[in-house]
């Protein structure tokens, strides 16, 4: 049986969830990199993530990295989809932060 792409799902809720105004796509799935789609969705304040990745065994790390992103950004009512190709946690953090900066620029 050939290996399959992994789908991981996570959910977080910020204390005071901040909504976003626009949806956004950011990034390129290069080797060691990832892309993300962040969409506005009515999720009772929650932030839902789906990560698609070929790398097995890092569920806990994803949970921490994404949890910290929500802690720092306070985003809520968002659906986030990530296509990953071996991005390190550091690259994931950088890309999410850059995506957030793009969102801010779109609002401005």
């Amino acid at each position: 049986m050939a290996k399959q792409l992994l789908k991981l799902n996570f959910e977080f809720k910020a204390e005071q969830p901040m909504p976003i105004k626009e949806s956004l796509h950011y990034g390129v799935v290069g080797s060691g990199d990832m892309e993300v789609i962040i969409e506005k969705k009515d999720l009772a304040g929650k932030a839902k993530f789906q990560v698609v990745t070929p790398v097995v065994g890092y569920d806990q790390v994803w949970e921490k990295v994404l949890g910290r992103f929500i802690d720092e950004s306070n985003l809520g009512n968002i659906s986030v989809e990530i296509n990953d190709n071996n991005a390190t946690p550091e690259v994931v953090s950088i890309r999410l932060r850059q995506a957030l900066a793009e969102l801010a620029a779109m609002k401005a």
Binding site: K64, N86, T88, I94, R97, Q98
Partner: protein
């Protein structure tokens, strides 16, 4: 005195030289086609033989000849050499011509050496640092025969080693002054009368045989990093280093390791460094190979002097055109010298900074992997506190005053300390964690039967660890436990990082032992490639005014 002979080595030397006479043409010249015979004539089984393999230049022709000698006549040699960078250096072990090995660096051949040790083809003496191996040339590892390479030579034996002088003088000095035999391959041989070499770097009296090599010696462009490959994460870490360490200690005399982290720092000097107001305050004196990525900072007027271990392919013309910065001979060309430069690197710099691959929970760090016996070259001599140092600089004193554990030895006596900074992203390629419970070096030690695992920088020498999470100032910690906590605090999402107690990390941040980019006032969003003073090799060529001539493999146009 009862007839004891005190000059047997000299007699032996003269016998060998006489035996080789028929092979000599004019003066000291031997034809390339006669070199195998020459080696069979002057080398005896089991002898210590030094073959010039350096970081950069390689006596590849002589190595090839040595691999072709009749192994009935020449066998079981004990090779003492700096670097084994080419497959041909290992052929002599494959064929049984050599058996024992003492060296300092093997780079790409590290995997093969581990295999050979495993198969019993190599008996490993020790892996040294360069200075350490050079020191042993003058004690218990003095070569009987030494084979070197040079750009130019003449029939009197004079050599021009120029830009890539590297190890040649010290190898020859140890051999020649113990009645050993010195053989040199040169790219170009002159008669020395009507046509002379550019400059005498090695006097002819110290050389016995000179051969014009069929092709120029191989040079490895080891220190060239393509700016196009520098990542945003490396740029962030370079910003952390500049603001958190260079600026804090006013580091003026230093060495940069090989790698993309320090390349990023070099390329940030004219941009981010300038923005921080650091020009004229840091990075004035380097002991460093001529890194192409330093060109923008040199052109921007940051650097006052650079002394080099070796040359770097493509940088000849640039160095020659900047004689105020580099060490240039009366003929106008640069001269490197590894022994002197390493000495400077050990005693006269305030900081060593470079990348590493693995750090254990105590802070011991190494670039060794489980399957390669690669050695560290000169890094450990720079990546340590030089205990013989007595002169004072601001950076050295400040680091010493912060060194908490020093008080438990010296009481209230003050002493400085070298800044030793290791940089590592918490995860390297393919999600390999930089922070590990057991270093791969331990596995290697077991596999290759080494008594000690190869550690590049020990935890008691390291002062700072930089990751994308921030800086851990190891020397400011009170105890082993606190050092472990500091490491956890910057180890991100690695297993060791996940063990961090947020409360403890918070306390260490308050004490200044851990500093995050935010603590340092660094805007992570600014960490991107637009900060690089040169974005690719072509930019470097342009900034150098066309003086930098990159080797083919970096010539992307």
């Amino acid at each position: 005195m009862n007839g004891k002979k005190w000059d047997t080595r000299r007699t032996d030397y003269l016998e060998r030289i006489n035996a080789a006479k028929p092979l000599v043409k004019t003066g000291k010249e031997v034809a390339a086609s006669d070199v195998v015979k020459l080696l069979e004539t002057v080398i005896r089984p089991g002898e210590k033989v030094n073959l010039e393999g350096n970081n950069q230049k390689q006596a590849d022709f002589l190595a090839e000849c040595l691999s072709k000698v009749n192994k009935e006549k020449v066998y079981d040699l004990h090779m003492v050499q700096s670097a084994l960078a080419l497959p041909v250096f290992l052929e002599v072990f494959e064929k049984g011509i050599a058996k024992k090995l003492d060296f300092a660096y093997s780079g790409p051949m590290g995997g093969k050496i581990a295999e050979f040790i495993d198969q019993g083809k190599v008996q490993l003496g020790a892996i040294h640092t360069y200075l350490e191996l050079f020191a042993r040339y003058f004690t218990d590892l003095t070569p009987k025969v030494c084979m070197v390479c040079a750009y130019e030579g003449d029939r009197f034996g004079n050599l021009y080693t120029g830009f890539n002088t590297e190890d040649t003088p010290i190898q020859i000095e140890a051999t020649k002054f113990s009645n050993g035999i010195v053989i040199a391959q040169v790219n170009k041989l002159y008669d020395g009368v009507d046509n002379k070499i550019k400059r005498v770097d090695i006097p002819g009296d110290w050389v016995d045989f000179v051969i014009e090599s069929p092709k120029p010696f191989y040079l490895e462009p080891l220190f060239t990093r393509d700016p196009a490959l520098i990542t945003d994460a490396q740029i962030l870490m370079a910003m952390i280093a500049l603001k958190g360490i260079y600026a804090k200690y006013n580091v003026q005399r230093l060495n940069h390791g090989i790698g993309f982290y320090t390349a990023a720092i070099e390329l940030l000097l004219p941009t981010y460094g300038k923005e921080l107001g650091l020009k004229g305050k840091i990075c004035k004196h380097f002991v460093l190979n001529p890194h192409p990525t330093l060109i923008p900072a040199i052109e921007d007027g940051w650097v006052e002097s650079i002394h080099s271990f070796g040359g770097e392919l493509g940088m000849q013309k640039y160095c020659q055109a900047r004689p105020d910065i580099f060490f240039i001979g009366p003929d106008g060309t640069m001269r490197s010298n590894r022994a002197y430069c390493q000495t400077a690197g050990h005693y006269a710099i305030d900081m060593f900074i470079g990348g590493t691959l693995q750090i254990d929970r105590y802070g011991n760090s190494t670039t060794a992997t489980a399957t390669r016996v690669a050695g560290f070259g000169g890094a450990p001599n720079m990546g340590c506190d030089s205990k013989g140092r007595r002169h004072i600089t601001e950076a050295w004193m400040r680091c010493g005053d912060e060194f908490t554990a020093q008080k438990s030895f010296l009481g209230n006596q003050r002493r400085g300390k070298r800044l030793v900074v290791q940089m590592a992203e918490t995860f390297l390629e393919k999600m390999a964690p930089a922070f590990v419970d057991e270093l791969d070096a331990e596995k290697l030690a077991k596999k290759a039967n080494l008594e000690l695992p190869p550690i590049m920088v020990y935890a008691d020498d390291i002062t700072h660890i930089i990751t994308e999470e921030g800086i851990a100032s190891m020397h400011m910690c009170e105890s082993l436990k606190e050092r472990e906590d500091a490491i956890r605090g910057v180890a991100g999402y690695t297993k060791i990082g996940l063990e961090a107690d947020p409360k403890v990390t918070g306390q260490l941040r308050k004490k200044g032992v851990i500093q995050t980019p935010e603590d340092l006032g660094i805007d992570r969003a600014k960490a991107n490639r637009s900060l690089l003073a040169a974005k690719n090799v072509k930019d470097l060529v342009e900034i150098s005014g066309g003086l930098y001539d990159p080797p083919g493999k970096f010539h992307n146009w």
